[in-house]
């Protein structure tokens, strides 16, 4: 495990350094600790970033009807090994927009570092937003991340969010996401993580189906190895008439790792329907044997299955 983590890390560290030093010009924002490395605005998008003592405050506003094929790239990280970074973010997306965000949080040298983030999103009526956030926390396990996101998806809008941490060592991660779906709004929320060594992950995903005919899918995929610990809480609360929701949680445990999942479904409208499915435990024997019958060793087969699950 350690060797794999080291091999991956050298490439990511080098990439992370280049991004955080501003060696790549990207459409969006690059923040290193509390320094604004670059801001590249595109027509229709206004980015206001202000340094605060331990981090930044960012307000990103998108006018109505902005449709972009390119990703808007947000890169928040730190090159220092110790300290605390605070990110206060507000994203206001107008009506009828079609946007894709990709956010990287990179802490390649962290030994004792805390990243604290409070994010508020408003997705305007009939807009379509895909948001992909990937973290890289280095190899020491010395990062602690606490993130609190509140997302309002307004009438007829669509939101797709993915959080992923698949390489290196996680350290401690607490991820809290609250998504409020208004009339006919749709949400597809995915959390993917691979934990190793003594990592600790706590995921709380909460979707509130507030509006009529709103819908949400909460998906969680985790793979816990070594002595790591993953706890997942998925809450789906339906108030809107004919709202629909589903929780789909799959947690794989390998070695001495620990995983738990708590799905909580609340319905406050007789026309609403919410469901859940969860599987937790070892890798499917049948899937392993399928790959081993093609000549892969058990270890190789497990690696293929993990990559597939976290893809």
């Amino acid at each position: 495990m350690s060797e794999g983590v080291k091999t991956v890390s050298s490439k990511v560290i080098s990439y992370g350094h280049q991004i955080l030093r501003g060696e790549y010009k990207i459409k969006g924002v690059v923040i290193e600790y509390n320094r604004v490395i670059s801001v590249y605005e595109v027509p229709g998008i206004k980015i206001n970033v202000k340094s605060i003592p331990q981090g930044v405050k960012i307000i990103l506003e998108v006018e109505d009807n902005v449709k972009l094929e390119d990703y808007i790239h947000l890169c928040f990280g730190a090159l220092r090994s110790k300290g605390r970074q605070v990110i206060l973010a507000e994203y206001r997306i107008g009506k009828n927009c079609d946007l894709r965000f990709i956010k990287h949080c990179i802490f390649p040298r962290a030994v004792n570092f805390e990243h604290f983030m409070i994010g508020r999103f408003i997705i305007g009526e009939n807009s379509k937003v895909r948001y992909f956030e990937e973290h890289y926390h280095g190899v020491t396990g010395g990062v602690s991340v606490k993130a609190f996101l509140t997302i309002n998806v307004l009438k007829g809008a669509y939101l797709n969010t993915t959080f992923a941490i698949r390489k290196g060592v996680v350290g401690k991660l607490e991820w809290n996401q609250k998504t409020i779906l208004h009339e006919k709004a749709k949400g597809d929320i995915l959390f993917k993580a691979r934990s190793v060594r003594e990592d600790e992950i706590l995921v709380r995903e909460y979707a509130l189906l507030l509006g009529r005919e709103s819908s949400a899918l909460l998906r969680t995929r985790t793979v816990s190895l070594d002595k790591s610990k993953v706890q997942v809480v998925n809450i789906l609360e339906a108030h809107g008439s004919y709202s629909r929701g589903h929780v789909d949680c799959k947690e794989v445990v390998i070695g001495q790792a620990y995983a738990s999942t708590i799905p909580r479904l609340i319905v406050k409208n007789p026309t609403a329907q919410v469901t859940h499915e969860a599987s937790i435990g070892r890798i499917s024997r049948k899937e392993l044997e399928t790959l081993m019958a093609r000549g892969l060793s058990e270890e190789e087969a497990i690696e293929v299955l993990i990559k597939g699950l976290l893809k």
């Binding site: 399928t290 081993m292 019958a293 597939g308």
Partner: protein, 235 residues
């Protein structure tokens, strides 16, 4: 030449005897069909040969070598592979990812060729994930995966189930082509029409091989005796 010999195989799982002194010999270069009603032990025998189940007693020889205690991977490396009756829905793996595992250094053009042979246009299927394929599509991908491995022994567990009649003829062609390319086929089925492609056939009942012979004769025997057998019907 005998490629596979299963000798006095017994298998007990959860206190239930599934295979009972089962003996099977498969000659190299043949298509050997095993037919039996549901619950007769066909799939369990396939799993024992592949190494998914360890027999309670008995021995398995492959190319003269005792493989009874070898793992699935070791058997696959010797040239044995299995197309599952119900292929796994592996999350996140595309058809291309899955078929690449079987390629082992051969050209990727072979993937395109076999998918075309199975009526699965590569431009449509290569990027699709296994978990979102229908049962029939997954069966064909499974057959393609076995084909690409160029195995010495391919165990095909009910390759016809969930397949429409038009595609079935393509499956027959692929099975015959595998044999022409040097693979020996162990074809497991409960459909006597599948015996048309076989060179030799065996009937299985209550965990043992009851009779082995000409496929036409075995098909008749199966139709007349097993289909109406109260033990078979009970299952």
């Amino acid at each position: 030449m005998q490629l596979l010999v299963a000798r006095n195989i017994n298998l007990v799982r959860n206190g239930v005897k599934i295979l009972s002194d089962c003996n099977l010999t498969v000659e190299e270069g043949t298509i050997h069909a095993i037919i039996g009603v549901n619950g007769s032990g066909k799939t369990s025998l396939a799993y024992v040969i592949m190494g998914c189940y360890r027999p309670t007693s008995g021995e398995i020889y492959f190319n003269g070598k005792n493989i009874t205690n070898l793992s699935i991977t070791e058997r696959a490396k010797l040239g044995i592979t299995l197309a599952w009756q119900e292929p796994a829905r592996i999350e996140g793996l595309t058809v291309l990812d899955y078929l690449r595992i079987s390629l082992k250094g051969s050209s990727e053009s072979e993937i395109y060729e076999i998918l075309n042979k199975l009526n699965m246009p590569p431009e449509v299927y290569l990027t699709r994930e296994l978990q979102y394929l229908s049962g029939g599509e997954r069966k064909r991908v499974e057959l393609a995966s076995v084909y690409l491995m160029k195995p010495k022994l391919a165990i095909l567990d009910e390759p016809d189930s969930g397949i429409d009649m038009l595609t079935l003829s393509e499956i027959f062609k692929v099975i015959e082509e595998m044999r022409e390319n040097g693979s020996t086929i162990l074809l497991i089925t409960h459909n006597e029409n599948m015996l048309k492609v076989a060179d030799i056939a065996s009937v299985m009942c209550e965990g043992r091989i009851l009779r082995t012979g000409d496929p036409t004769e075995i098909a008749r025997f199966f139709k007349e005796r097993c289909r109406t057998c109260p033990k078979g019907l009970k299952r």
